[in-house]
């Protein structure tokens, strides 16, 4: 095991690993070269792999996505960065109409093994548009995978898996926890499975389901609740589309109660899907309505109010207790 590293360092490690082991892998995006990315996720890659493998692009997200699709069709494995998820929208036409469809459209003649990375979420006092969580938009699109790590080790293992995956993967990095907790991560090239939830904590009283940065608060809430003898199972969804229904359902059928924690707005979100899934398919197991802790259905406020917007440990604990108290 190596020294403990942060999540953003783990991302960097995975990128370097794949650049080294597969000559088809290239990294591209705005400021990913000399600058090493505005969050340093690509730091040092340009120096090690050169400008043909680590490419600063003109400023145009549509272009970055479209270019990646063309490259992928030729068997390259582009790993493109959207500087912030708030700037991914120009790329949606390419992602939705082409990346997600190239294999299906050509019945497998052409494929699109690309990864689109984007830091996302609030909590770092950033300017407008630098703090949103719109994973639901991407999760709704058939043909995509949407993967969200919540620890350095999972960032490393899931990013390897995403790059090696033969289909397009949207890889969303919760930047609030980019540097929050360190963890030793062996650079052993071992990928983690996609399309699978990770059960981070076992418990019998209630299932806490989360992903991304909110996993941090969710684990903290579970910890605190444990001191009150409330034992929550904590599941990191990790791949929000397609969903690992089985793990979610079997946990809830064990605990009988469930609270979903997300940072994103609530309306038509990933939380909506998970809540409906559980209510529809595990109704008889449910001893209380599914609880939801989420951001508001408002525009993310500028940073002075962002902590009012973001769910917190107390919110989670309260919702858990309400769910447990349900008749």
């Amino acid at each position: 095991m190596s020294d403990p590293i942060t999540m953003v360092e783990a991302v960097n490690l995975a990128l370097a690993h794949e650049l080294r082991s597969d000559s088809n892998v290239v990294v591209l995006g705005e400021d990913v070269g000399v600058n090493g990315g505005v969050f340093r996720a690509t730091a040092g890659l340009r120096e090690e792999f050169g400008i043909k493998r680590v490419m600063d692009t003109p400023l145009a997200e549509t272009m970055i996505a479209g270019l990646s699709i063309g490259m992928a069709s030729q068997g390259m494995k582009p790993v493109a960065e959207m500087q912030f998820m708030g700037f991914i929208f120009p790329a949606l036409e390419q992602i939705i109409c082409h990346a997600a469809r190239l294999r299906n459209r050509t019945r497998g003649r052409l494929t699109c093994p690309m990864v689109l990375r984007a830091p996302f979420g609030g909590g770092i006092r950033a300017p407008e548009h630098h703090s949103e969580s719109t994973e639901a938009l991407l999760a709704h699109i058939p043909g995509l995978r949407v993967v969200i790590p919540s620890s350095p080790a999972r960032a490393y293992g899931l990013l390897l898996a995403a790059i090696r995956n033969p289909d397009p993967v949207i890889f969303l990095e919760p930047k609030r926890i980019y540097r929050v907790a360190k963890q030793p991560v062996a650079d052993n090239g071992e990928a983690l499975p996609l399309d699978r939830c990770f059960t981070l904590r076992e418990g019998s009283d209630l299932t806490l389901i989360s992903w991304g940065a909110m996993v941090k608060e969710t684990l903290e809430a579970a910890e605190k609740l444990a001191t009150e003898d409330i034992h929550c199972e904590v599941i990191d969804v990790a791949t929000v589309s397609p969903l690992d229904k089985e793990t979610l359902l079997s946990s809830v059928s064990k605990t009988g109660r469930c609270v979903i924690v997300q940072e994103a707005p609530r309306h038509c979100s990933v939380g909506s899907e998970i809540s409906s899934l559980i209510s529809e398919q595990a109704l008889l197991d449910l001893q209380a309505p599914v609880g939801r802790v989420s951001g508001y259905d408002t525009v993310m406020p500028y940073y002075k109010l962002e902590n009012q917007y973001l769910p917190n440990v107390k919110d989670i604990m309260e919702t858990v207790k309400q769910t447990l108290e349900f008749a």
Binding site: T62, I69, G70, S73, M76, E93, Q94, R103, P142, R145
Partner: protein
């Protein structure tokens, strides 16, 4: 005041509408071989077009986008590109696609609402038809990026319409092609209309080729009804791209002699006089005149080729009409390399539904 940039756009044309040379003809066009092949292909393309429209009109195929009037542009493209090059078409390139290996019945599959049209094994690494306007221009740059990264001597060739040049992604594509000096050729089939919107409404500039200037790349206009001019322009652009000399934009002037698609009725917005005039300068007649004038093509050849293409097209239509429908599970099976667990239940259910004859119409 210091002049920091100067540029111009030139238009090339060899034949007038009667097929009479307006300037010295290139050497290769002073002999019959390539040009009669080109002519044959154009006639074939038009025959396929007529058949497709007939199929649509009789309810045997869905909406279809006709190539009528753009045969020179598209056939020349299909003939001049090398097999190892990559075509990134829009939705009006059946001729070049066919010449590069797509079957005629695959064209019918596509417009007949069947993904097997794009599966086209013969299409190799070529991209499938592209409906969202201008998006394919960026794929071409991506293909060209891969080609350049690998040091290959291949070219990505992409086509779009005049309307497409207003869309940002087309312009982003020109820009990155120029910034990275990519081996890509952009052909604009400027057929003067984007559905009902005339060229003048798309852009205030006198030419669309000059969009290349903002990207720092070569741009030129060519008479797209003149197969000789079209081949000259494209060959030069391909050679340059292949030799690492960078991208080009070719604005090929043509006219959409058909409705936009079979779902459209151009009489609602277009003067008949304009259409009539356009028929005067259309590409097939022009090349036939040139061949005739040189004694390289005569009525007998015309008759027999005409019969031949009709048979070819008829056979393709029969194959198309005789084809089965894809099973519903194909909707799931090509979505990902491997079916995700979460979709298993839906796939099973789709099959059960299909067996029970459950379909929306009933």
């Amino acid at each position: 005041m210091e002049t920091v940039y100067q540029g111009e756009i030139r238009l090339n044309r060899y034949l007038d509408k009667e097929g009479t040379p307006l300037q010295a003809i290139p050497q290769w066009a002073c002999e019959p071989g390539w040009l009669t092949d080109c002519y044959r292909n154009m006639v074939l393309a038009r025959a396929l077009d007529s058949k497709a429209i007939a199929l649509q009109r009789t309810g045997q195929m869905g909406t279809y986008a006709s190539l009528l009037g753009a045969e020179a542009i598209d056939v020349v493209c299909g003939m001049v590109m090398r097999q190892e090059d990559v075509l990134i078409p829009y939705y009006r390139n059946h001729a070049s696609q066919m010449l590069r290996g797509m079957k005629m019945e695959e064209v019918m599959y596509y417009w007949g609402g069947d993904e097997r049209g794009n599966a086209a094994a013969g299409a190799g690494e070529d991209f499938p038809n592209c409906v969202p306007i201008a998006t394919q221009s960026l794929h071409a740059c991506g293909v060209a990026t891969a080609i350049k990264a690998r040091g290959e001597k291949r070219v990505a060739v992409t086509m779009c319409g005049d309307g497409a040049t207003s869309k940002g992604d087309f312009l982003e594509a020109l820009n990155v092609a120029g910034a990275w000096q990519l081996p890509v050729v952009f052909i604009i089939n400027n057929n003067q209309w984007a559905i009902s919107v005339p060229r003048a409404i798309q852009c205030g500039a006198p030419t669309l080729a000059q969009k290349a200037i903002g990207a720092g790349i070569r741009g030129e206009q060519v008479d797209g009804n003149d197969a000789i001019a079209m081949r000259e322009a494209l060959q030069l652009a391909l050679d340059r791209a292949r030799d690492g000399k960078g991208p080009s934009v070719i604005e090929a002037l043509s006219y959409r002699l058909s409705d936009h698609t079979t779902a459209d009725d151009a009489t609602r917005y277009r003067e008949n006089a304009e259409l009539k005039q356009a028929w005067e300068v259309e590409p097939i007649k022009r090349l036939r005149n040139y061949l005739h004038n040189n004694g390289w093509w005569d009525e007998t050849q015309e008759q027999s080729w005409s019969q031949e293409v009709n048979q070819m097209v008829q056979r393709a239509a029969e194959n198309y009409l005789a084809s089965d429908t894809q099973p519903v599970e194909t909707t799931f099976d090509y979505l990902y390399a491997e079916l995700p667990d979460s979709l298993r239940e839906q796939r099973d259910w789709a099959q059960v539904r299909a067996m029970q004859g459950g379909s929306h119409d009933e």
